[in-house]
Symmetry: D2
Subunit: 345 residues, 4 copies
């Protein structure tokens, strides 16, 4: 079963499995005090800047919640887009596990602006209300859009000027960087991002994410938080080896580029399908579109993908590192047929 | 670098890697709604009883903390041995993440008895004190000892009679079962254990543990807790495939048996080493011994193992699924030499 | 210094102090096991129905947070109006202390409707999102408006039909009841409210609120929650005596009636002030109005009141049990003068 | 009903009620921004040193839990005597509300020593274990004993040398100070205590405690913690007025001196009662004694007091600010009779 349901429906890239097998020799010190972890951390410094301090964790929810735990004192809040993964898809973990109130902002494109953040910077110093401490953005966003480096810089600059920090949920940061043809640091350290949840799973790993402190002063005590939040792997080498596979060469870029290219190909193929309308600019590896409900229903018999908004009939189509041009073309043809058929009934 | 530092210094069993590679074809529904997870859950039912309900998680700390979160209301406490992993090695997660007070009991062998639990069943119904709800035992224990099925049954019976539940930290349950030549359910479901943290990592997986509800009524809402506690893998098939490798045949038993046999071989070889004294019965895959500090120091130049108690010079020697007789013999010979040399100086 | 800043700027009613003095004889069992507490609980049953189970606490934030803690499991959320006190004035306590995500709804009048609640009842059973469990309303609201018993009944009916519970933040419930000329139970138990934070402080006590479980089944274990959440007074009689003073006769009603009457008088006096516009219907003890910034500035030299919204120049004027007609008239005259002067400049 | 059950069975001192009545005129700014609170804070500085920063709260559990929340990061622990109130009588609040693991030490007299603390200072920097940050002592202790200033100084000195802070649970600090004929600062600021939970309730208030930061640098952000932990009174003047009554003159000292004197009188009267044995030195306002169970049973028909340890028949007899010599003498005579009768049966 293949399709466009999610980039975490895809498996792991063969080079990732090979790296795990390579690491599987003899004993290694546990809990991250091993050469693979050291190497992964070095590679993360190469990609995010020599000052960067990184910690590997199991999944993206953990990378996000741990990042926020590290940045906020108990009375401090996080500003994010209403569509942010931390707001709608972490099962209440920011509140229960980190005790943090999210202050979410309605947006059309899941992107936050300094103006939106500013509107929430009221009653500062008033103990009756939570005090905003972090602005959190997702790159590329939950709607397949992305921030330009200029937009990120403006946010970071504004945040720092007002005593806030900037967190970037980078579950799909590789897709944004690939689409912009920029190195990872150009979207993070270089534009003032403080902490990144750097995603691996959606970009071809079995599992594994990194919390990257672009601002290393914020990492104080983080090793305790990671352990306490149940995210310290005992056989750390097996997560580290995957990151080595991803970052030592250009696998991270190849994977993301392929997923992006397939989304672009899909968008182009769908552009003139009658009855179908793209609802977001296609700037990474996802396509959002509205099409007739009967067409969706028919398509979902053969293809995996999610309805994003029941009310409007909007669907989400995500491409992965392993999506092929043949699949895209076959699916696009099916979409055209289904839409035609829906319109002519 | 090999040695006796920990069973999580060992790598993954080749059959486990093969199972992952086998699972790495095409797309699969994410977050555990895939055939591998279904198969792993079926196998867990075969091993723990058809009533058992299981959830896969990333690591042992998580399995423990989630088990306790599932069993306790906010004012309820957990009784455990002072040496319990939940008490000394989870970085305060039971308290911070689950909000649970542990009531620990000093023991010589890390084993809890009904009498010890009973002593803490005071002031019941008094809102000024936490109310004991769970007794938690580790099998095999942190000191390499184990409970007989009769001991576990007595604890479970006592617990249930007094309105408590029995949790079993089974990070090394396979070692106990192998040593006792009993199926897993004989040490859990059959003797009244309510919830098990069933370990995979220390027994040959890359990573992966299962929370097994022998009493399925206690699992209500657990899927939400797992997600919220950051333990739901997106590409769930890759943890599930490992459990299939472990449980479909007898890999779990082979691995544990080998580790146990090596510990027994080591204990026997050390028994008459002058200046060395075994401090715990060797009932699973670990050997605890006191030896001269200078001998330890010398040995640690060549071999990895941990000093357990600085004050007494007690060391812990753990065997793994991949420990060989040659290693054991070579190490034992070195120990003998080091102790002799320490005594004759 | 008097004025219209808040009903908690007012002191305690003399009858309340007299009741405390009366209770101050000899020793009494601590922690609520005293005759005054028993009497207060009896009176609360008389006012809220014989089935009601009540617990006294120190303040309104605690009554709210404890109510929600009692109703929600860790993954369950609370739906409320964006203006709700729990959302904007509890310092993040619902999230930090109770671990609960609030799902807030933008409203014009701080009142929630079944339609608004329904819109959030999506993805039920999906572990990636919090599951709505409680709708929380404030009566009278933070904007001085109130729910009719029919509106509350509709909300409760809808909530129960959909598996939700209804919490009522009644810091000013007495004002709503007085304004509607209804007993307290007609706005709570009789219309299906499950739990009430019943306010005393703003209605003439020194301090003291009650959590009233109209649905007593929900109170299971609440005594532990109260103690653990630091809300169990050791000398319980002194909070209980205040509630006796409030509820034994009609003091609760007299106080609320006076505050309401003064708000009505103030609203009437301001109705035709040039340049001033009332922004909410005056249905309890508060008046909201927009007036020229320069008028506000001038008035605040002599009178205490708060600017509610800097951007629009909206102010909040709250009347208390001790507000007098003379004060209202004097203030209204000053407002008229200040507005005239602002307009003619 | 009078007796020796607890110093929180006693009522409020008449001067305290008078102070509340005096404060009950006109309006006052809420939430602690009022002249009474300013005056109470000034008085606390006079008693604890000009550097001291104080916050009023509702009860002793809150003062303790808030103190510890202020001092600990999420992975830091608190060392205390096994008998400490925070360990056995806060309903699990340190763990649930503050997320803090307590590391308790068995003691005979409820007093902590530097040696006991030192034994727990192991595995520092190891993320698998909580990191001790605070030593918490109770003065006078839960067993009626007290620390000398030298003992406190030694603890503070040791704590600071090892990177720890010293918290003092002073629910009965006044009793210790009165017994030692020392000002409050001589037992706190002057000997290096960092934070004090300063008790008012047990010493003659209706309710009210203060968190006193002798080391003011530790108070950063505390106002947010107090609000969030549900401990900010809206009509703050009424708690402040009580502290003014307590501290402006010598009421705190008179009350504590009376309670202590009565305990000494009681101890002296019981010293030669046959069959009764005092079990702790009487150094504050409590007497602990073992007597025949039948004597206890008979006495409890007429007198209120608690059995402290069922197993040994130990009872606790607490004197209050309102205990009289007549009561003590009458009770002592009854004890003598009851013990004689128990022995001659």
């Amino acid at each position: 079963m293949k399709g466009f349901a999610s980039d975490n429906y895809a498996g792991a890239h063969p080079e990732v499995l090979a790296a795990i097998a390579d690491a599987n020799h003899g004993h290694a010190v546990s809990y991250g005090d091993d050469p693979w972890t050291a190497r992964a951390e070095q590679l993360l410094r190469e990609h995010f800047g020599q000052q960067a301090v990184s910690y590997l964790v199991f999944n993206g929810s953990a990378a996000n919640v741990l990042s926020l735990r590290a940045l906020c004192r108990p009375w401090e809040s996080v500003i994010c887009a209403a569509q942010a993964h931390i707001n709608v898809d972490e099962g209440g973990a920011p509140e229960q596990i980190a005790g943090i109130k999210l202050q979410d902002v309605p947006t059309l494109d899941a992107k936050l602006t300094p103006e939106q953040v500013e509107r929430l910077l009221v009653r500062r110093g008033d103990e009756h209300v939570v005090q905003p401490r972090v602005a959190s953005v997702t790159q590329s966003t939950e709607l397949g859009t992305r921030y330009s480096p200029y937009e990120l810089h403006a946010l970071a600059h504004f945040a720092h000027e007002r005593g806030l920090l900037l967190h970037l949920d980078g579950a799909r940061l590789a897709n944004a960087a690939a689409a912009l043809d920029l190195p990872l640091r150009a979207l993070t350290t270089d534009v003032g991002v403080d902490v990144v949840s750097f995603g691996g799973t959606k970009n071809g790993l079995l599992l594994g994410e990194a919390v990257v402190f672009c601002n290393p002063e914020l990492a104080d005590g983080f090793k305790y938080l990671r352990k306490q939040t149940l995210q310290l792997a005992s056989k750390g080498r097996f997560i580290a080896a995957q990151f080595i596979a991803l970052l030592e060469g250009d696998l991270w870029l190849r994977n993301a580029t392929q997923a992006n290219a397939m989304a672009a190909r899909l968008a182009e193929a769908l552009l003139d399908v009658p009855g179908l309308r793209l609802t977001q600019p296609v700037q990474a590896n996802a396509v959002f579109a509205v099409l007739p409900a009967s067409a969706t229903e028919q398509l979902q018999r053969d293809w995996a993908f999610y309805t994003w908004a029941e009310a409007t009939g909007e669907v989400r189509l995500v491409c992965s590192w392993d999506t092929t041009a043949e699949e895209v073309d076959a699916f696009a043809a099916d979409v055209r047929r289904a839409c035609n058929s829906a319109l002519t009934r």
